[in-house]
């Protein structure tokens, strides 16, 4: 009994030291995925909406990536999202054909089998030749656009932001007629991650373009956390770099952060309908760790109940949020 008490105290101290603010029995372990019917989504699942999932820094080939893939499959069965956007570091060490299988084809097999499409961007761990890999739908380009309903996506290569790419981006944004313009790429312009943080250099060149041409939302990875940033000049920024890699306790507490999750892997589910973008961050264990809605015009975040967890804040990120 005494040994058990000591053990429990030691475990508690270890959890506290590791900066885990979400006290969950299975956090950090590899639990089973569970029954698909157990998942309850908070996005509204409206008719004719555009639904997609977001993953970043996923290509590790370890169990955690596979388990996030399993949760994505469950979410897909319910939401019927048609595609996934990938924020880079799709294949860590993707130097052999086996890497493509282990780090992409196997973890997302069920989604691929169901016809879900993946649209990749390049991270700092990606080989440029991934642009020729058909399942990534890059069409042989480092940067490209794709349109789904009312939403046009601008996919950038932030490893190498030269004048040619900047000119291309401006031209594409200028000619876009889509009500929703969403950009995604690897390096975040805003991030409360301690390991990397924001790329201020990229922000200097990209943010004025996004503002000028009415980009509504931006998704990035690189920091191995989930973060929803408070809207900056009307643009909603997300960091989703924890779909395979994780940097436990890496989120800083600052005024930038609207909500975050850094104690387990996660992915994001997004639904766009009319002027509203609903988002729902789901952990590897199937918990909703953030959710809400962003209104495009005027650009105000009106989410309710989304948590703002952080090591110093002590709030629970595990409870599903209400809309």
């Amino acid at each position: 009994m005494r040994r058990l008490t000591v053990s429990l105290v030691a475990t508690g101290i270890a959890v506290a030291i590791s900066g885990m603010y979400l006290m969950k029995p299975n956090a950090g372990t590899i639990p089973s995925v569970g029954n698909p019917s157990e998942m309850v989504l908070t996005i509204p699942l409206k008719a004719d909406s555009v639904r997609f999932a977001v993953i970043g820094d996923n290509g590790t080939a370890d169990n955690s990536e596979i388990q996030v893939g399993d949760q994505m499959q469950k979410a897909q069965q319910i939401s019927k999202f048609g595609f996934v956007i990938m924020l880079g570091d799709n294949l860590y060490g993707g130097a052999s054909p086996r890497d493509y299988q282990d780090r992409f084809e196997r973890p997302y097999k069920s989604l691929l089998d169901r016809g879900v499409l993946f649209y990749a961007s390049l991270g700092n761990h990606d080989d440029n030749n991934e642009i020729s890999y058909v399942p990534f739908h890059m069409g042989g380009n480092r940067y490209y656009t794709h349109t789904e309903g009312d939403v046009e996506f601008f996919v950038l290569d932030t490893n190498y932001m030269d004048n040619t790419q900047l000119d291309w981006l401006q031209q594409e944004l200028q000619k876009s007629k889509s009500p929703w313009k969403i950009a995604y790429f690897h390096h975040p312009l805003y991030s409360s991650g301690k390991a990397h943080g924001p790329s201020r250099e990229l922000r200097t060149v990209l943010e004025p373009i996004f503002e000028k041409y009415g980009v509504s939302a931006v998704f990035s990875g690189h920091d191995h956390i989930y973060e929803r940033v408070n809207p900056q000049n009307g643009i909603q920024y997300f960091v989703m770099g924890a779909s395979g890699k994780l940097r436990n306790g890496d989120l800083k507490s600052d005024s930038l952060k609207a909500a975050g999750f850094d104690s387990d892997r996660s992915f994001l589910l997004v639904e766009i309908t009319g002027d509203n973008m609903y988002y729902e961050a789901i952990s590897r264990t199937g918990d909703t760790v953030d959710s809400g809605v962003f209104n495009k015009q005027p650009p105000v975040s009106i989410h309710a109940g989304a948590q703002t967890p952080g090591p110093t804040e002590g709030t629970n990120a595990g409870t599903p949020a209400t809309k």
Partner: protein
């Protein structure tokens, strides 16, 4: 009341005029000299890049471009075959084949100019060090496949000459390299091109 003092100041100004003129002339001459050297270096650089591209395109006759494919093996095999073919055609190319002393000096000035514009931004981008052993960085060698490529600071990219789409600049350790994107081959290295930012840390992600 200040008239004598003004006279003295005017006299001094007049006396200084020839000095300023000579200094100005020297400055203008030096600047023009510098411009000439820069133009020459730029031309030299451009010629060498075109020379490399010619080899790259020759290699593509043997190892043709592939259309996007679902076969990872085809993609990787083509990359390796292209690298081998270019390597063969370039032979024993030496370090400095593109970054001649004149071109390197020109790039040094461009990089310096980029730092003057946004040193904190560049340093932040380069804060994460993903070191590669210097002896693994050689012209005509494969860029180590187990090493990540740190993002290229956009401020520097906006200062240096743009490369054709087959090629890119990267900073590795303290060096500026030109890399063939498709073949993952190092074209040339300018060692010690940048000063490592203070507080640089090892990153593995």
């Amino acid at each position: 009341m200040n008239r004598p003092a003004n006279h003295a100041r005017n006299a001094l100004n007049l006396a200084a005029l020839p000095v300023f003129c000579i200094a100005g002339l020297v400055f203008v001459t030096t600047s023009y000299g510098q411009l000439d050297r820069d133009a020459q270096a730029m031309q030299d650089f451009s010629n060498k890049i075109h020379l490399y591209l010619k080899i790259h395109h020759q290699a593509e006759v043997t190892v043709p471009h592939i259309k996007p494919t679902a076969s990872a093996k085809k993609i990787i095999d083509r990359k390796h075959a292209l690298a081998a073919q270019i390597n063969k055609e370039r032979g024993n190319i030496k370090e400095g084949n593109v970054f001649t002393p004149e071109v390197a000096a020109y790039f040094e000035r461009l990089i310096h100019s980029a730092y003057r514009q946004n040193a904190p931004g560049i340093e932040a981008t380069l804060l994460c060090l993903s070191p590669v052993r210097e002896d693994r960085l050689k012209p005509n060698d494969i860029y180590p496949e187990d090493a990540e490529l740190t993002a290229m600071p956009s401020t520097i990219l906006l200062h240096v000459p743009e490369l054709p789409s087959e090629l890119e600049y990267r900073i590795v350790n303290k060096d500026l390299i030109i890399r063939d994107r498709e073949a993952n081959l190092i074209v040339d290295i300018f060692r010690g091109a940048i000063t490592p930012p203070p507080g640089r840390k090892l990153c593995d992600d």
